[in-house]
């Protein structure tokens, strides 16, 4: 069991309170996943040629200011978007690939969790309630967000094994379920140049989507490919720069419910996480069918 949640704002009021809504949805899903929690927030996107990098570290005393000034020296400008003891999100005036390469070369002790123009990822092996407090999630705003509460089955309970997983620019995935052909698929994807940080099955699904998108597929085509190429059971919520998508395995093994109003569209493993959103009582509520891709967003999904 795990809990997944996602929300896409259709009004500025929801966008301004996005972190607060995400916090309450995550805490409500604590019983489905008390081991770890994580969230992906899509804030206002940076311009072309700049990127936002989310990192975490196990090393106490990491000097994020120092990293910021080194990145500024290398790329011209950098600032700290958010930081805490063990995590930071920096904004750098450099091409994403170059910035990521520089960090991984010069600061190998850091785990880069996401790179993109809008995406930020935070996660930790703590209960959802502690997670939202530690990362001050309620203060964040953005267009859309995904969240995950984990009850571990496939790999160690540590921050890197927590969701969301990102293996490509502004792309992330949260997963409820379990894949059975992930080792085989991971080897195949590694040969295609996709790199993985964990032994986790869900990271393989994220890597698969990255590989398909690199090959020119739309997010819908990439998700339809999952139906053919992934063996196991899953409900996925996938975030991209402009929107989010939901897919359940063809026999709909894992739960999912979607609700929509004029102000937002949201999905969750259970309705009670959606019941907390403004206007939920009058929302249109339905259960997504297995094997069908649902998408919300703007340009990416056209």
């Amino acid at each position: 069991m795990c809990g997944i949640v996602g929300i896409f704002s259709k009004s500025s009021a929801i966008a301004g309170q996005l972190g607060s809504h995400m916090s309450r949805m995550l805490v409500e899903m604590s019983a489905r996943g008390p081991d770890s929690a994580g969230a992906a927030i899509y804030g206002s996107p940076l311009g072309a040629g700049a990127c936002r990098v989310s990192m975490r570290t196990e090393q106490p005393g990491t000097d994020w200011r120092m990293l910021e000034s080194e990145l500024a020296r290398e790329f011209g400008s950098a600032n700290t978007h958010r930081s805490g003891q063990a995590y930071a999100c920096l904004q750098v005036a450099g091409e994403p690939d170059a910035v990521q390469h520089w960090i991984e070369t010069h600061m190998p002790e850091l785990d880069v969790m996401s790179v993109g123009r809008a995406l930020e990822i935070y996660k930790d092996a703590v209960s959802p309630r502690i997670f939202v407090e530690r990362f001050e999630l309620a203060r964040m705003s953005g267009t859309h967000a995904l969240g995950h509460t984990r009850m571990a089955t496939e790999s160690r309970v540590n921050p890197n094994g927590s969701h969301p997983f990102s293996t490509g620019l502004d792309l992330c995935l949260v997963h409820n379920g379990s894949l059975s052909n992930h080792n085989q698929l991971r080897r195949e994807l590694q040969r295609e140049g996709i790199s993985f940080r964990t032994e986790n099955d869900s990271e393989v699904a994220a890597g698969y989507l990255t590989w398909r998108l690199r090959g020119g597929s739309s997010i819908e085509q990439a998700l339809e490919g999952c139906l053919e190429d992934l063996d196991g059971f899953y409900t996925f919520a996938v975030g991209t720069l402009d929107g989010f998508a939901v897919l359940r395995d063809p026999i709909a093994c894992k739960p999912a419910v979607i609700a929509e109003t004029d102000d937002w569209v949201a999905m969750a493993s259970e309705f009670r996480a959606l019941a907390l959103l403004p206007g939920a009582a009058d929302a249109q509520v339905w259960e997504p069918e297995g094997g069908r891709v649902y998408t919300w967003g703007t340009t990416v999904f056209t």
């Binding site: 026999i251 709909a252 739960p255 419910v257 259970e270 309705f271 009670r272 996480a273 959606l274 019941a275 907390l276 009582a281 509520v285 339905w286 259960e287 069918e289 297995g290």
Partner: protein, 243 residues
């Protein structure tokens, strides 16, 4: 309110936004024992699980809003009405009584139910009536895949369409569908709709308070009895491997 105070009102009201779920269920169980009050109104259910489970008396419980998993599970004799959608396993293992959902139902609605009537006025998701053991289920909308999977007794009535694998590994339950069937499951076949089927169905739709649907428009599906009946021609297949 205490149980004594409960007993003095005509309709007991319970607000799940303010009071814990366990308190609601224990109050309802006390009312099952004392018979008072008979009518309950529950507000702000907020998708909580296991609301009004295990009732065993002729109570009327109305829940204003969406409920979570297993609502009205194991129901006996009570009438439970949900003015909203419900999560997984509504009325699972119901023995008798009436459960009415005015919205959509999630997976496994009426799972293993032995008796009583479950009415879903919206759609029901996958595995509706899985392992049904004698209850009746009437869905005014459509159902997703694996409806009546391994159902043993009872009736599943679908006024809309049915998803794939309908009636897979069916035993002696009967399925009636008015719209299309995506695909029948193993050992489930269409059978002739007889006059007694139509009159049985008419009576069932009436009890479900679904007036606008004509009982003669349904098709009947049941087990071909190929999968679970012993065939003497196959006797050799049953020999113990060591014999």
């Amino acid at each position: 309110m205490t149980a004594l105070e409960d007993a003095l009102v005509d309709v007991a009201k319970f607000d799940l936004a303010g009071e814990p779920l366990r308190q609601l269920n224990s109050r309802l169980h006390e009312a099952c024992s004392s018979g008072m009050p008979r009518s309950w109104q529950v507000v702000n259910p907020g998708g909580k699980h296991s609301i009004a489970v295990g009732l065993d008396a002729e109570l009327d419980v109305e829940i204003a809003g969406h409920v979570g998993y297993y609502c009205a599970g194991m129901n006996q004799r009570a009438n439970v009405r949900v003015l909203g959608n419900c999560g997984v396993g509504v009325a699972e293992n119901m023995m008798s009584g009436l459960v009415v959902i005015h919205g959509n139902a999630s997976q496994s609605a009426g799972a293993s139910a032995h008796g009583g009537l479950l009415v879903v006025h919206g759609d029901a998701s996958a595995r509706c009536g899985i392992s049904l053991k004698g209850a009746d289920i009437v869905v005014e909308g459509s159902i997703a895949h694996l409806g009546a999977f391994m159902a043993q007794r009872g009736r599943l009535v679908v006024c809309g369409d049915a998803g794939h694998s309908l009636g897979d590994s069916l035993y002696e339950a009967t399925v009636y569908v008015r719209g299309s069937v995506a695909a029948l499951g193993a050992d489930c076949v269409e059978q002739e709709m007889r006059d007694e089927d139509v009159s049985e169905l008419r009576e069932l739709l009436e009890r479900a308070e679904i007036a606008a649907v004509n009982a003669a428009e349904f098709r009947r599906y049941a087990s071909a009895r190929e999968l679970y009946n012993f065939h003497v021609d196959n006797a050799g297949d049953y020999r113990h491997p060591d014999a």
